[in-house]
């Protein structure tokens, strides 16, 4: 089941450097939320706090709360490994496991869960998720070839297949199309549209058209000044943000009139 995310007064640091400050917002289940904003305003940082990947960076630490269906991800008894199994992630640069075949890449997460699958079961799951990621027809004849032998767009869809194979509740995507050509980008946008019926999706993007095309809600982040932490400026329905935002800065950014 897709879950709702509530972020409460979240501040994230890299060592002594405060990257984002006091962010409060929510993300609706079974919908797509886009994060937009200038480079360095902390979109990736915020995204990574949502599945406790932020603390993997040396010095990374978080204050505040992130509730996943009312359960605090940063609660004292929460295991970050379990969180990451529930909240999947797709990175900006495609990162399939270079030492594994296409098949093993998709199955990697399932093998982690410690459940033993029968070969036929695993075959089914791999096929279903490759189909889910619109990649099946391109790779069905070479499942045992290395995943690193695919094109960048195919690799990114492989990474999506890998992420959804473990059936997460939430899927986080950090500029998933920034390294891709327009056709692969469209393929992934179609995929996102299909996936949002089952998952809660958060996508970071620098492409305004993409945000407008795929997302239901959009959050705009900005840096109040150089060297200051990034802040949430506003979050609203995508249509509203792109046609009639409440804050003038948002309009300036979207229309390209920006500092």
């Amino acid at each position: 089941m897709a879950k709702r995310i509530d972020v409460h007064g979240l501040t994230a640091y890299y060592g002594a450097h405060k990257a984002i400050e006091d962010i409060t917002m929510h993300v609706e289940p079974t919908s797509v939320t886009a994060f937009i904003g200038p480079s360095g305003c902390g979109k990736s940082t915020l995204l990574r706090t949502l599945n406790r990947m932020h603390e993997v960076t040396p010095g990374g630490r978080v204050e505040g709360k992130v509730l996943l269906d009312n359960e605090d991800l940063y609660g004292p008894e929460v295991d970050p490994v379990a969180v990451r199994r529930t909240v999947g992630m797709v990175f900006q640069r495609p990162n399939p496991f270079p030492t594994m075949s296409i098949y093993d890449n998709v199955a990697a997460g399932l093998r982690l869960n410690g459940i033993r699958y029968r070969k036929s079961e695993l075959d089914d799951i791999v096929e279903r998720n490759l189909r889910g990621a619109n990649l099946w027809h391109e790779v069905k004849d070479r499942l045992n070839r290395p995943g690193s032998g695919l094109s960048g767009g195919q690799q990114q869809r492989l990474c999506i297949a890998r992420a959804i194979a473990v059936e997460p509740e939430v899927l986080l995507m950090d500029e998933p199309c920034s390294a891709l050509d327009p056709i692969s980008t469209l393929a992934i946008e179609d995929l996102i549209d299909k996936l949002k019926t089952r998952y809660t999706i958060v996508i970071v993007t620098h492409n305004m058209q993409q945000a407008a095309r795929v997302s239901d809600r959009t959050a705009f982040f900005n840096l109040p000044a150089v060297g200051r932490p990034g802040r949430l400026i506003e979050v609203d329905a995508t249509e509203k943000i792109f046609s009639n935002p409440s804050v003038p800065d948002t309009e300036d950014y979207i229309s390209g009139r920006f500092g």
Partner: protein, 322 residues
């Protein structure tokens, strides 16, 4: 247009650069040729002397359990040396490689940075200790302490024969193997550590984001990625173990016998045998030692070739299955 002029500013300096290139190319070629000539000279010298020795040998050079090079009918063979070298190096590898991989993993993926740096430094420092110091440490510290261990091993596994122990001072191939393990540990550790450190961050994050525990990250990304590096590191260590001289000569009590048990004193290795006998040997004796040295050289070459093959094969499949 502009860019071109900027890259090659003026004809004069371009010619100067060409001259520099030519001088450097000549230098490189010259040193290459010198190196080849030196190696060829060494090879010819060794082969000639070795052939002389082999012609004198009354026994079978490969199977004789004896090393009598002087007198009327000299009889010598490398059976004992080959066995001793192989056995002690193998023991060293079996002990050192897993430990080295463990330390390297600990340093790169488990230890907090404050701890990792000094430990890494310490391990590197161990590599700088001269081998004679290891030898003295082995003879004075390790040997007396191993006696107890060997008695215990004899009690538990003596029935295998390989691990039975008669009770003499522990100056055996096993002791040599253990000492060699300690000696090759630093180099194997530091090479493995470097390889593990190069595991791409993005790949490790991919595993983490799938919900992998730290150990699963290691198993899914670090170990497969570092496999060929572990092989190269092991081979580097093996090369050192095969050729180690002073430490072995200090610890081993040499004899031209192959014991069924690895724990009983005696045996010999190529390098140790050369070091122990070279001073007293006459010309014929030295030729015989050179012949044995040539075998050691071939052995090392073989090991390196095998390692390269393994690495090349792995590279071909580097992308495929785990």
């Amino acid at each position: 247009m502009n860019a071109t002029t900027q890259r090659h500013p003026g004809g004069a300096s371009r010619r100067a650069a060409r001259l520099g290139d030519r001088i450097f190319a000549g230098l490189a070629k010259g040193s290459g040729i010198t190196l080849l000539l030196t190696m060829a000279a060494v090879a010819v010298f060794l082969t000639v002397r070795a052939t002389l020795a082999l012609r004198e040998d009354e026994g079978n050079f490969l199977t004789t359990f004896e090393w009598r090079t002087g007198g009327e009918d000299p009889e010598f063979g490398i059976a004992v040396l080959l066995f001793g070298t192989a056995a002690s190096s193998l023991i060293a590898m079996l002990l050192a490689v897993p430990v080295a991989v463990g330390i390297a993993l600990f340093l790169t993926h488990y230890a907090p940075r404050r701890l990792a740096a000094p430990i890494a430094w310490l391990v590197d420092l161990l590599a700088a200790v001269p081998s004679i110091v290891y030898g003295l440490w082995g003879a004075l510290y390790l040997v007396p302490r191993l006696t107890g261990c060997y008695e215990w091993l004899d009690g538990a596994f003596g029935w295998t024969g390989v691990l039975s122990y008669a009770g003499a001072p522990a100056r055996s191939l096993m002791t040599v193997g253990i000492l060699l393990a300690v000696m090759i540990l630093p180099i194997v550790t530091s090479v493995t550590r470097e390889v593990f450190r190069q595991t791409p961050r993005a790949t490790q994050e991919a595993a983490l984001a799938l919900g992998a525990t730290r150990w699963e990250v290691v198993r899914m990304t670090v170990l497969p990625f570092g496999r060929s590096g572990i092989v190269s590191a092991s081979m580097l260590g093996l090369g050192r173990a095969l050729g180690e001289t002073m430490a072995v000569a200090t610890v081993l009590s040499p004899s031209f016998l192959i014991h069924a048990s690895l724990l009983d004193s005696g045996g010999g290795t190529f390098a140790q045998n050369i070091a122990s006998q070279f001073k007293e040997a006459d010309t014929a004796g030295r030729d015989a030692l050179i012949a044995s040295g040539l075998v050691l050289f071939l052995l090392t070459l073989l090991v390196n070739g095998a390692a390269r093959l393994i690495i090349a094969r792995r590279r071909e499949y580097a992308g495929a299955a785990l």
